[in-house]
Structures are given as C-alpha cells and as structure tokens.
C-alpha cells in the first residue's frame, strides 16, 4: 500500500517536473517571439543599404522615368514608402524595370525584394508561382474610352461598334464574353503596340479604345483633342493590382502589408505629408498615435523602429496624395472610383492599427 503511494508520488513529481520544464521552454519561446525579428529579407535590405524594387519598365502613371532619368509613378511611390519605413530614406531604392514576361521569375530568383508592377493578384500567381500577394494598391479593370459624339453612356450600348485594342488574349476574351452576355456585337481591331492602337482610334478606324482603367486615362490624354473622348463608367473585368513578395518570409510580408495599410490609414485619419510631424506630437486620436509611433510599440513588433510609418507617409504622402500626384485631375485625370477609401464609396479598407 505504502509502496503504491510512493509510486503515485513519484509519478506526480515526474509530472510536475515535466510540466515545469515545459512551462519554462514555452515561456522562453514566447519571450523569443516577442523580440523584434525583422526577418531575413529586411536584414538583407539593411545590410545592402537599399531596397531592390521591381517596377514596370514603363507605363504612364505607375512607373516611368522623367527627363532627368528619375523614376516616378504610383508604384514607385510605394517603393519609396517601403524604403523609408525600412531604411529611413526613400531615396535608397534600386529600381529594376521589368517586362511582363520576366517579372515573376525575377522575383522568384531573389533578384528583387518586392514586385510592385501593376500586376494583377490572381489565384495561380499566389498558389502556383509560390508568391505571396500582399495587398492591393490599385483597383483596375478593363474599361472603355469612346468618342463623345457617339453619345454612349454604357458599354452595353456599343452594339455594332468597333474597338481598337492591344493584342493579348485577356482584353479580346473579356470583350467577347461581355458582348455575348449582353447579346450585342462588338468588333475588335487588334494592334501590337499601344501607340498604333491610339493612332488608329484617332484616325477614326474604330469607335473607341479598350484597356485597363489605369491606362485609359493615359490614352485619353494623348489624343489630339482629349475632350472628344469620354471614359465610360463600365468596367468589365477585375484587375486588382498590388504588391507581390516571395513565399517564405512572413515578416517581410507583414512589413509591406502594413506600409500599404499605413498609407491608407493616414488618408483615413487625415495624416498628410505636411502635417505628419505635427500630428505625431499633437494628435489625441489613438489610431493616429499608434500609427505615428507616439504610443504603443507597433514598429518594434514589426522589427522596425517606432517612426517607420511616419517616414513612409512623409516619403510621398498618404494614399490620396500619391494617387493625386499621378492619376489626379492635374495629372492623368482618372476618377478615383473604386480606389476611394471605403468611407467614400471605394474599396480601400485599411485594417485597424490596434
């Protein structure tokens, strides 16, 4: 009997010992995971001293070079914001201009840290190519630009019309699907280069031009008399453009995701390039305080410093400022539509900083 009791005691002791050991290890592990771990990509960027950002080789609005050879554009502004958050300087970016054909392989091969190249986030790119689709920075879709004289308000009224477009299966396929669904006939006239398609539209060989909404605004501005052309509100395909990174570095995904969120949150809470520094000291809004690093340790949790988002916003401004610089009324003149914040009837809905 006593022996059994001793046995039980022994077992209990063993159990307690094991639990204690377990508790210690778990605590250790927990302590470790709360330490700032910026992840291998951020470490590589810091060691290198520059962010390598894959952008479009040239597309109006998103990425292009000005006469002085400086990279500019909506996607380029995102690269600058990320560099500002990670390295503290928006100028420390090496841009790699990529064609549509090589963009994903270059990312897979590790030649670039992040791909922000008006690339649509799709199932196969996520699952098949081993990429992580971080965030959507621009909602595009296939739209239409037609002659104002046609008096057309919607694409479904384009029965019998001929549209100029660039070859590339999706544009034609989308049109064909759309026409069939609406029971109308829309003819397509195909070209290899956008310039040819514009020229043909200008020469009256077709009634309109179809392309992604981001490019339509640029197309309209190259017409001899832009006011003769109108961009229809109809959008017939979904092209959510955004940020791609490689699979395998969750910390880096977090950084890029939250830089995007920070730019949008800044617009939502009225933080701009100009007032960000002031708001950091004066704002009493807890979201702004956490965003700008005057409260909480969000930067530390990301493996960065507290002012990461402040710098990202100060690089080229908040989301609205970036959009207006390249697509606003003074630039290409593309209405924000879906690219508005959710509070203004758009789709951009930054996750809360909490």
């Amino acid at each position: 009997m006593r022996e059994r009791a001793r046995d039980v005691l022994k077992r209990l002791a063993l159990c307690a010992g094991v639990s204690a050991a377990l508790a210690v290890t778990t605590a250790g592990a927990m302590a470790q995971s709360s330490l700032p771990a910026p992840g291998p990509t951020v470490e590589a960027i810091k060691k290198r001293g520059e962010l390598i950002c894959g952008v479009d080789a040239g597309i109006p609005g998103f990425a292009f070079q000005d006469s002085a050879g400086k990279w500019k554009g909506f996607d380029v502004a995102y690269c600058r914001a990320i560099a500002a958050a990670v390295l503290g300087d928006p100028e420390k970016v090496k841009y790699v201009g990529l064609t549509a054909k090589v963009r994903f392989t270059v990312l897979q091969a590790g030649e670039i840290d992040v791909l922000i190249r008006d690339s649509t986030l799709t199932f196969s790119r996520d699952v098949q190519l081993g990429l992580t689709e971080v965030a959507i920075n621009f909602y595009a879709g296939q739209g239409f630009m037609v002659r104002k004289s046609l008096g057309v308000k919607e694409a479904s009224e384009l029965n019998g019309a001929t549209l100029c477009m660039v070859t590339g299966a999706t544009l034609e396929l989308n049109i064909a699907d759309y026409a069939r669904a609406k029971g109308v006939t829309i003819n397509s006239l195909l070209f290899e280069k956008t310039e040819e398609a514009f020229a043909a539209a200008e020469a009256g060989r077709c009634d309109g031009y179809t392309d992604d909404t981001g490019s339509l605004a640029a197309a309209r501005s190259t017409m001899k008399v832009p006011d003769d052309w109108v961009i229809l509100s109809t959008v017939i395909s979904k092209e959510p453009l955004g940020i791609h990174v490689r699979d395998g570095d969750e910390r880096w995904r977090d950084v890029t995701f939250w830089v995007d969120a920070a730019l949008k949150e800044a617009e939502e809470s009225g933080v701009t390039k100009a007032n960000a520094d002031d708001l950091k000291t004066t704002s009493k809004n807890p979201f702004v305080m956490r965003l700008l690093g005057s409260e909480g340790d969000f930067g530390k949790l990301l493996g960065l410093d507290p002012e990461w988002a402040l710098r990202a916003i100060k690089a080229d401004g908040n989301y609205a400022e970036i959009y207006d610089a390249y697509f606003g009324p003074k630039a290409l003149g593309l209405p924000r539509a879906l690219n508005n914040l959710w509070t203004n009837g758009g789709l951009h809905y930054p996750l809360p900083f909490r």
Binding site: A57, G58, F64, S67, K72, G97, T105, T222
Partner: protein, 350 residues
Amino acid sequence: MTERLRSWIHANLFSSRLNGFLTLVMLALLALTLPPLLRWAFLDAVYAGADRSVCGAGACWAFIDARFDQFFYGRYAPSERWRINLAALVLALFAAGAMWPRNPRRTECVILLVTLCPLIAGVLLVGGVFGLKLVPTDQWGGLTLNVVLTYATTAIALPLGVLLALGRRSRLPVVRWLSIGFIEIWRGVPLLTVLFMATVMLPMFLPDGLTLDRLVRAILGLSLFVAAYMAEVVRAGLQGISKGQYEAAAGLGLGYWRAHRLIILPQAFRLIVPGIVNTVIDLFKDTTLVSIIGLFDILGIVGQSTKDPAWLGLGREGYVFAAFVFFVCCFSLSLYSQSLERKIARSGGH
C-alpha cells in the same frame, strides 16, 4: 550639260514604254507621299519645349531634344558621363589603329583592341577603382549599352568562333563533334530564346545568393550565340585557302598552330573581314532585343520615354530617331566593309 542630262534621263528613266510608265507611277507616288512627310518632319515640326503641350501637327522633335542625353547615356549619372565619352574615344583610337590599312603594326593593334581596350573601357565605365565612382550596370543604357554589348560580344565571340571553326575542321573526332554540336545547337535556337534563358533560367541553376549581373548574362548569351555564326564565317574563310598553302606550311616544318597562326589565318582573315563586319552589323541591331529582358538599350529607353506623362504618345518621333541612329552606325560600318572588299579585289587576293 543639258544634253548629257537629257540622254541620262532617256537612258535611265524612259528607255522603254514600260520603264517610262513605271517612272511616272513612281513620281506620282513620291508626289503623294513626300510633301506630307516633309511637312511632318520639318515644316510643321517643333524643335524645343518643356513637355508635350508644345507639340502640334508636325513631328515633335522637342521630345528628342529633351531626352537626347538619356538616349545616348541611359541613366548613367550626368556628372560621370565624361567617362563614357572617354571610353568611346579610347575605343575609337584603338579601332582606328586596327582599321587603318597602312598601319605597320596592325595585327598588334587588333590584338590590343580585344584585350587592352576592353580593360580600359571597362574600368572607365564600371569604376570603383582609381577614385572613380562605381556605376552599377543597371544604370547603363541608351546607345552606350548597344555599343558595349556589341563590342564585348564581338571581343568574346570572335576568338571563340575561330576556335570553333578550327575545331569543326579538326581531325580529332571528339573535338569535331563537340564543335559541330555547339555550332548547330546555337544556330538552331532564336536569339530571343537565348536571351530569355540567360535571364530567366540561368539564375535558377546558380547556387543561392550568387547572382550574375544582368548585363553579364546578356553578354554571355549573345557571345555564345554569335560565336556560332562567327565560326561559320571563319570556316568559310579557311575553306577558301587552297590546299597548297597547307602543304607549303607543312613543308616548311611548321606545326598545326604555327601554320595556322602564320600562314592560314592571316590569309583567311583577309577573305572574311566583310563577313565578320556583316555579322557585327547584325549583332548591333540584335542588341535591341535586350530591351525585352529589361535592359534599357536605345530602343528600350525610347519606348520607356514615351511612357512619361510629360511626353506621352510620341512613339513616332522616338522610333524615327532610333532608326536614324542605327542607320548612321550600320551604314558607316557597311561602307568600311565595302572599301575593304575593294582593296582585297585590287590586291588580287584569293
């Protein structure tokens, strides 16, 4: 004078009823196309301005004016562009030495052109030593890039081509088979495929963390491709040497390498210079394909410049300019090759 002109017109333009008719048709076509072209290119053209708001109905050469430096130097930092100019001068000096027919040390000059000259030009362009600032190759572009690619590729492909040509004519079966295999495989694939393989596939075979510079990859791909063509050009020259020359060389007691170096290759090269120049012209034009793999040669930069909202929609002017630059370069190479051919014909070469 008028009489001679009249007879020239008669003999060359109206020698028969059909020819006369064709002349009239051509004149009518020219009358239809030339005036609008001239009006577009010159009369209505705009030559200076800050952005496309100055452009009118004619050509907008202001675009070329604003982007001129970029078309030539790419994104190479403006303060460092003298290095490109200096490298071009060095190249021109060495090339002149190698091309000048009466230079007594011409062979040495040719050898220096493919050894010392790339070294000097490379140091100048890349920098990072002797107090020169390092300029990474991703900032290289424009016509500079086309010239660098052509030159570097020729410097690698020509010696390699000579070796391959000799290998293909070798009596050692393994060497012969390998040479034939190499030549036929590289001649059998399109250049675009080679460039894609070099950019997209090569990094996947390399160990992690090791990345070859994109420009180096393009040069490697181009060199292997062009070497196969060079080999066939050189082989044609070798086959043009009569058997007696080989026998005479053997009779003098020269071994394989000395016979080729002293007797066969010098004679063969005189025959194949036009062929080599032809391949180089081809190569020069083919270098524009690198814009597909994201290197901004002159055509790539022109295409990219037309995407700047300040200059949107000026592709026509840009491509006309690029075509003009290429024509000037290729036509002068071609003139040189023709003068060589005439010289060979005069000296009664084989």
